[in-house]
Symmetry: C2
Subunit: 449 residues, 2 copies
């Protein structure tokens, strides 16, 4: 029985973080299984999050963004990787996958499937992409294209002011471009207004033109320019980067008849099994539990994708492992301003009818006398009844440790009193003796007493 199980045929559709994490886990747990990975692009196990840093030239070679090559997986882990191979359909009844590659069409049977088809950049109107001067930022190929063509552009628009938009604004600015960010709502729209304002002010100070409340209605291609209009004014750019977020790639899931969740991503149970018990799914194509609000949430983040792949691979291999969900911790930087958040913001707390208290502080990043003098702007949303942090937003210097600590507290409901007494390590070069996390907790505790 175990023997038979361990010799199963596994097919993994999509060789990104989730897919290769699942493949490696299955190989470890089922040494005798056959594992095939079909990947549409030329890369597997790549880090799309690194693309902005390749564009800005901090990362010199695009191949550095590839953790392992297809050959590595084949040679070292006996995983049969097929790049530039697109799965065209899945016959769930026959447990068979059809694919097409340079070599032609083919098909393969499976006992278990891992759907890790990832996400696609959101582009409201497909024909916006009908230009050599309009880019999305998703695949390593995008990075290559942007970098190859960048020299001919001087004025560049970044459409979308979220994580990728902010990162691309820095990257392009560092490359000497005149950058305009066009954002429908506000810079970093997942952060509350006042935190967003801190960031947009800094972006402006660094020479970025920031237009908030700007909804792109049309993108028109001219021979050597791209015209962008919000319906009232039209601006001319040499190149345009679309950073409007991503949507789950659910084409095959739909075609297979898998259940699609409330967020529009593939529904999975807590074991990451889809509505078809031969198919697991992981990564940017699935929705997971929001550990703060308890409902489903679409969290297309790399750490989540990697762990989902690990969990899906574990369960597929006969273990029982629950993916507990995500609080959506994320971090980035714009030049030397670090930006991060976890859980919900004040807008979401209000929208969900939560009895909350928001603590806002600006605090030293280290002992006041220890140079450089840098600070952290922190906003923490506490649940007044349960006295736990529900979310945090941080902007400034040295935010990683505070965000990581708050993320753990948000994820597991560590209350503000415990957080107050938590052992944030102290030494003058690292933190003030009353660290920002401690101070924020103290303010909340004193407020609700």
């Amino acid at each position: 029985m175990e023997e038979v199980f361990s010799m199963k045929n596994i097919i993994i559709i999509g060789g990104g973080a989730a897919g290769m994490s699942a493949a490696s886990r299955i190989r470890k747990l089922l040494p005798d299984s056959s594992i095939k990975v079909f990947e549409e692009s030329s890369y597997v196990s790549y880090a799309p999050c690194g693309v902005p840093y390749y564009v800005e030239d901090t990362v010199k070679d695009i191949n550095q963004l590839v953790t392992y090559t297809p050959e590595f997986f084949t040679r070292e882990r006996n995983i049969d990787v097929h790049i530039r191979t697109r799965v065209t359909s899945v016959d769930a009844g026959a447990s068979e996958v059809s694919f097409v590659s340079e070599a032609g069409e083919g098909s393969a049977k499976y006992d278990y499937l891992v759907l890790s088809t990832g996400a696609v950049p959101f582009v409201p109107v497909k024909k916006w992409l009908d230009s050599d001067n309009v880019y999305t930022v998703r695949h390593l190929e995008d990075g290559n294209r942007i970098k190859a063509n960048l020299s001919r552009a001087s004025r560049v628009a970044v459409v979308g002011g979220g994580y990728i938009g902010v990162e691309m604004a820095e990257a392009l600015s560092r490359q000497g471009k005149l950058v305009t960010v066009l954002e429908m709502k506000r810079i970093m729209p997942n952060l509350d207004q006042e935190i967003s304002s801190t960031i947009s002010s800094y972006m402006k100070a660094k020479g970025i033109t920031v237009k908030e409340g700007f909804e792109v209605k049309s993108v028109e291609n001219l021979p050597n320019a791209v015209m962008i209009s919000d319906g009232r004014t039209t601006e001319r750019f040499d190149a345009v980067v679309l950073a409007l977020g991503v949507r789950p790639n659910i084409e095959l899931a739909r075609q297979m008849g898998l259940r699609i969740g409330e967020t529009g991503a593939v529904w999975v149970d807590e074991h990451l099994m889809t509505s078809n018990k031969e198919a697991f799914a992981a990564g940017d194509s699935v929705e997971v539990k929001d550990v703060v609000l308890g409902k489903k949430r679409y969290v297309p983040l790399a750490p989540e994708a990697n762990k989902e792949g690990y969990v899906a691979g574990s369960n597929l291999s006969g273990m029982s492992m629950v993916f507990p969900g995500s609080a959506g911790a994320a971090i980035t930087k714009f030049y030397d301003m670090e930006i991060g958040s976890v859980g919900i913001n004040e807008e979401e707390a209000k929208a969900n009818g939560i009895d909350y208290y928001a603590v806002k502080i600006k605090h030293n990043a280290r002992a006041s006398y220890f140079p450089p003098s840098e600070s952290i702007e922190m906003k923490v949303i506490f649940d007044k009844k349960r006295k736990v942090p529900l979310g945090a937003q941080l902007v400034g210097s040295e935010i990683f440790g505070r965000l990581s600590t708050l993320s753990l507290a948000v994820s597991y409901g560590i209350d503000a009193e415990k957080l107050f007494f938590s052992g944030i390590p102290y030494a003058p070069p690292f933190a003030p003796v009353w660290d920002s996390v401690i101070v924020a907790s103290r303010i909340f505790n004193e407020h609700v007493l």
Copy 2:
């Protein structure tokens, strides 16, 4: 009743972190009380942890190490601060304190007392201090003395290789001194051997002479030199810094007849009340609960002192607040090598008969392709039965956030599976997608399955 209570006379002995934290808390909760602080030195609310950074000249002015002046407390918080005033005895029966200052002797009655007498540097033989060239590192005055006299020294010995010893070795080395560290056990003796070795190797690479297993038997003063011997060999130095740790200053507590705890520090209950219910105690003179082992532990750290002062002040003022204890999180650096720990090490796990598993990894501090390429050496001790981390030791770059996160997990028993799924925020400049904390947890989880 409330009225009468709020008009109590409070005396605080010792104006360091714990004492001034208590004073400020009491002023807030009991606006009409009379608060007197007696402080032996010339400073209150000072940061002794900053002294090494003053010696190395990162901090230019010793006054920067003073958070608030006595005048500030008197003017802004109506706290009656008496510096250069030594309390000579406490008559617990009469609830009266006797003191001596430049102005002569005096006495004052109290309704409640806060004993925050701090700690004294451990010096095995008092006469070792009978030299202008032998220093301890505790008070701001020590910093002044070292810096004033440093120019005449070339060869300097630092006796003791713990936190302060390592910091002073860097400070003196940065000032161009030839530094020898003499340590009875090993560098950073609270860390396990292999972690200690990483640190001592780096110290040697930076030009420090490190002698481990060196027990100082005698310190002899010559007119312009200090001779140190371990009984076999004798070495000559121009100056000697004694960094042998601290001992609780329990003189007054003993004289008052207060209960002294198993560690030799002042015993307090969880409300930080001493065995005399008119007297609270806080800071480096008390022992607190070790949250990992459950027994009492002496933890003379600044964040603990500050919070203890806050808790003692709260309870003295009629609130009921429990000080939960400490996991002893601490951090420092030697040049660009960061060093930190929390909870117990492997030696302590063994000595306490704990069924543990130690995970040791060396991991990237950020995405492998993101410069600078730096790493973290991490050792985590997990309890095999309860599956929680009991302690962690970290050496390398960017350890603060990982240590802070692990500290929270150690303090509140967050198990390795939860830690694996914790939302360590990810972006290439900050962390690898599989962060060291996640990897260490995964290794433990896979081991105990």
